[in-house]
Symmetry: C3
Subunit: 230 residues, 3 copies
């Protein structure tokens, strides 16, 4: 719980700081943990247990609400709530030696909440396999299934993350923030409503100072100078 | 119709038998059929036709309701309602020589109901292609598109199925059953509701005797002894 | 705007013409454009801008409503609204040298509406990557992610398109039309409702003259002679 609290606090520390342009989550060592502890789950009462699951939900919902992209960097094993956390980031990059699994049922706790995350990025026959068998899948399988954005050799992992963060940092924070917020909003809408809403969002985007600067600099064939503020 | 009735009866025979831990569906021979018969569809009246389509729907909805995982093993051709049935199982394993198609439009019957199944596991451009052209796709294409969990050489098919069923059988039936039921429930919910519901489901899971045994055996570093009962 | 108007007019010119059996969209040259023009967006007032986004939405919604399959053929670069238009066709075929991107944020305009299209065919971690970084993906990546139906060598592109259009043209237009309409309808329904609706659609399909001809010709082992009319 201490670890989840620390992670949550760091994630939402200062979302309006314009110096903050993207967040990269990674594990210390080879095992990606979200902070769940089976001993704690076994020993403690139901109020405590509920708090554990509420905390990881809060973290995940806040990742979507953050005004900057959140990237997970996986180089090892992402299991159970660790896999859920990885799958809940905007962008996921994994080394080719990494594995992903939801093995909770092996100790009697079905990965119900991790299934909410992986069931939304992978096809049903693949996520059901992970949940019901508990068997791990490789990075390459995770890539094909849609869980992972990119798989690279371990030695190229940092370089790939750099490339992604550089691309994000070269853009206006205000524009990315507006876009990220709408992206998640529209995914839950029927197609026609999503487009209607998207058109309003485009009008809103075109009124941003950084959009005016972007279009002007494009036409004037120079680099834009962003304010990063809405 | 006789074949569909037999299949349905076998599937739901005794769902509460704790000896039943998973179900593997496979074809006799190389062609996977769900029992639809074009001659019957042509010859018979609309009440009969309606019964045919109601029956396959009942089978498919019952596959999701079953308390144990249902695996389809494909080694040959899965076409039309056969492809629909395959795609409606929890886990799908295919040999590398298998093909998948929804060619109904070639004989004037668009694969409307098979499209419900494949449109939910594959991306739109791929399932629309299958439905509108009737052309078959390979196992490898089906794997990339998300229709198939795993593709293996024909000689490894039984071994792979064994590995999956062993993994399922090593777990508590009560835990898998609770998890499978929630997995399908949450897929239809918005993210926030899915997590809210998932937290309750976790609390319910932690109260199962087999969960208490699972956590205790994990901490005591011994194999769990499951009761398999809720 | 002139280009979008011309495209829209051509698309919906005569949807009931039974000679029209499918539509192939492709770019002149190597860049796929939907007709958006950054200079126009910068220079013009908000009524005009709104018209631009309304027009592309109308085109896309009409592609789904058309009674015949719409195929996009990509041989080069599909970016921003061009990528949106490509992703909104029923079937997408790309040469192996093609790329796909949604780089709008680089000039201050987040690809909000293209995100509606690509977010519905690709997994979230892949479409979020495209939208937030603006970086291009290859045909092969687009294929794995579900954006593209088939990737082929440039020299095989026309042949592949021919194979697809021949398969469509060998079928009854009335059957394909009924099937396409239901396919998009059911994707928005919960599973149970989709099947209920699918059964009614099957009954409707079986009453079509071309369905009766299809089943009869199948049983008589001869080629069907379609009327193509509902």
């Amino acid at each position: 719980m201490a670890m989840m609290n620390a992670l949550h606090k760091d994630l939402v520390k200062d979302p309006d700081d314009t110096e903050l342009r993207c967040i990269v989550l990674s594990a210390e060592g080879k095992i990606w943990s979200a902070g769940h502890n089976l001993k704690e789950l076994q020993a403690n009462d139901s109020a405590y247990r509920n708090e554990v699951f509420q905390k990881i939900t809060d973290i995940i919902l806040d990742i979507q609400k953050l005004p900057v992209p959140v990237i997970s960097k996986v180089n090892g094993m992402a299991a159970a709530a660790g896999c859920q956390l990885v799958a809940s980031c905007d962008i996921i990059v994994a080394s080719d030696k990494s594995t992903f699994s939801t093995p909770g049922a092996s100790v009697g706790v079905f990965c119900n909440t991790p299934g909410v995350a992986i069931g939304r990025v992978m096809s049903r026959p693949k996520s059901a396999y992970m949940l019901m068998t508990g068997l791990p899948i490789t990075s390459q399988e995770a890539y094909v299934a849609g869980l992972v954005t990119k798989v690279v050799a371990e030695k190229d992992l940092d370089h790939t993350i750099d490339e992604i963060t550089r691309a994000i940092k070269s853009k206006s924070r205000a524009v990315i923030s507006l876009g990220k917020q709408f992206y998640y909003e529209q995914l839950n809408l029927p197609l026609k409503d999503a487009y209607k809403c998207g058109q309003s969002k485009m009008m809103e985007n075109l009124e941003l100072d950084d959009c005016k600067e972007g279009l002007t600099s494009f036409i004037e064939k120079r680099h834009p100078v962003w304010k990063h503020k809405a």
